[in-house]
Amino acid sequence: MSRESEPAAPREPDLLPFWPHYVLSEFIAWYIVLGVLITLAALFPAGLEEKANALQTPEHVKPEWYFLAVYQFLKVASVFASLGSEAPRLTGILLPAIGMALLFFLPFLDRGPKRPARRRPLLLILTILILAVVIALTVWGQYS
């Protein structure tokens, strides 16, 4: 029997107590993360470069890793130069901004009743595609 063929009838979910079951496992997760943090900090302490000098630009200037995708996309957007002198700047900023706006309003754009991703193939494909592009841009930005 495939789940898709069943009518979407409301059903009572099996319930677990939040306390102490879930709280205990959450605390175990926190304890592991604390261990990971201290290990990372001990093995790879936060670095410090030369003191800031406004007159001396370093060779490889990059933003933080979580802004690299947008930064790289802004650089790549120069391919739109044939559409006009302002086109690269506009697309380079506006496309990521529109993407963030769409993500922000996701609950109002996707109003279908189905929850699990395996029953929403379009959403699954879009998520994987966007994730792949963002990761690719980030890696590209890191090594360019």
Binding site: P13, D14, A41, F44, Q56, T57, K62, I93, F108
Partner: protein
């Protein structure tokens, strides 16, 4: 004769008579979650990272000096002279990165499980606000060590904001507190990092948790039926 057990019981009863603390604790803990809900603890770990950031951040703020002349040297003191200063700063830096990673993983979990659907749209919007504030924390915090990497990453970052059509120049000036990254930039980034963002994030966080508590976790196997 003072019996410690009786004194503490009496104190608890005295408080309970005035504010029902035990009832509040019971109401917040004694809830149920669907057996099929898999959170992978992602949101909770993000919360834990925020607690670590608050704790280590307060300790760093006791020694850090937010001026271009002294910032770099105060970081050197924290790293080389204070007991465990290097550990506190390194944990703060690592926890900042982990917090953003777990924010993103938490967001992906919510997307793939469809947990943002009715009636949880407001929780989603508040969560997006929390993500933006977390990125703001990263952006402002990165400048504070005032080394070459910090200075030029901020120069590039504010340059990206300056590419926004029409309002770009204003945004860049506003972020930098002038034409270039300078003492004014460091002062306002520090103020935003230690005052504005923590208050804003704590407020949204309380709202996020209240909404989750009110509505319970979404059942990923059940379709929207409320």
């Amino acid at each position: 004769m003072l019996n410690p057990t009786r004194v503490s019981q009496g104190l608890l009863a005295w408080i309970e008579e005035r504010i029902p603390v035990q009832a509040w604790i019971a109401a917040s803990l004694h809830v149920t979650i669907p057996r099929s809900a898999h959170t992978f603890y992602l949101g909770g770990i993000t919360l834990f990272c925020f607690v670590v950031q608050g704790t280590t951040g307060i300790l760093l703020a006791l020694y850090y000096q937010p001026t271009p002349e002294t910032a770099y040297d105060s970081i050197l003191v924290i790293m080389n002279q204070l007991n465990f200063g290097w550990l506190i700063r390194s944990v703060h830096a690592w926890s900042a990165n982990l917090m953003i990673i777990f924010c993103i993983l938490h967001l992906l979990r919510i997307v793939l499980q469809g947990a943002y659907k009715k009636p949880r749209e407001i929780t989603w919007l508040v969560g997006m606000g929390l993500l933006f504030l977390t990125l703001g924390f990263g952006f402002t915090g990165y400048l504070l060590p005032w080394d070459q990497r910090a200075f030029w990453a901020t120069t590039v970052g504010t340059e990206i904001a300056g590419a926004v059509p029409f309002i770009g120049d204003f945004v860049r000036q506003f972020l930098r507190g002038g034409a270039d990254v300078s003492a004014a930039t460091l002062t306002r980034f520090f103020g935003v990092h230690v005052l504005v963002l923590p208050v804003a994030l704590a407020g949204l966080l309380v709202l996020h948790l209240l909404l989750i508590h009110q509505q319970g976790l979404a059942d990923p196997e059940g379709d929207e039926n409320e």
